[in-house]
């Protein structure tokens, strides 16, 4: 499936937002999702709904984290 994740085209086997989240953050070794959020096609999807949100071709996903800022 072709997705656009954080502005970049990505071929992914992830069927749900939760699967994509695990795929994208595998190397970060995160204790929890605090400080992170996801939007699908311009709408925020709350964390409890990630597992039941399925993905389809050309979906645009934004995965963000809170970062240092002024």
């Amino acid at each position: 499936m072709k997705l656009i994740v954080n502005g970049q085209e990505r071929d992914s086997a992830a069927a749900t937002l939760d699967a994509l989240w695990r795929e994208e953050t595998a190397e970060l070794d995160l204790p929890n999702t605090k400080g992170f959020a996801i939007a699908l096609n311009g709408k925020v999807v709350r964390q409890p709904d990630w597992a039941k949100t399925s993905l389809s071709d050309d979906d645009r996903v934004e995965i963000i984290r809170a970062f240092a800022g002024g």
Binding site: V44, R65, A66, A68, G69, G70
Partner: protein, 255 residues
Amino acid sequence: MTDALTIAGVTLSSRLFIGTAGYPNQRIMVDAIAASGADLVTLSVRRISLQGHGSDTVRLLAGRRFLPNTAGCETARDAILTAQLAREALGTDWIKVEVIGDRETLYPDVGELLAATRELVDDGFVVLPYCNDDPVVCARLADLGAAAVMPMGSLIGSGMGVANPGNLELICARSPVPVIVDAGIGTASDAVIAMECGASGVLLNTAVAKADDPVRMAHAMRYAVKAGWNARQAGRIARRGRAEPSSPQLGLVGS
């Protein structure tokens, strides 16, 4: 002095808000923020990257109140989505709305800022917009339901201080909501001047983060904001163009 700052029903323990970006390292950031006495700290929202730098900011600052920003956004639409993502990531409905109209000066795009403020207020956010030091823009933002207005002292990161104290006085005198001077503070005296103009608080980042000794500058800013606030509340003497002896004029020694 117990006259604390309250925004949207929340009483803050300090009139100084501080940013979390650009410190030499995270240890110094944490120490500087502690030295500043600020309990409201700003954060940004960015796409994840596996490089992970700055990744522990949220955990390191646990216990502080977060004010996420929409820095870097150029349209109301992007600012609104960024605010909604920040609310989800951090569990706060407070948002510093920043919509930039020009990458060179980082001046706000007023039209987009007003649109974003209107929509975010409707969506239940506590909106603190970064805006021009323009009394009319500040009034419009307050009319739309901004919980505070945050006019620039001068350009972001410039350290030029309060470029137009007259404007700031006007804004503070007329604003129905707290005025927080955001951007341009370079050193402690700039923060004092902002507060003496009638501001309710100061938001700064670079002045502390890029100082030679950030922790010490944070300490200075903590007391500068208090000094300026107390001086404003105390009421300064009138300026006069001639000398007025402060010692008694009777009983002088000699002829």
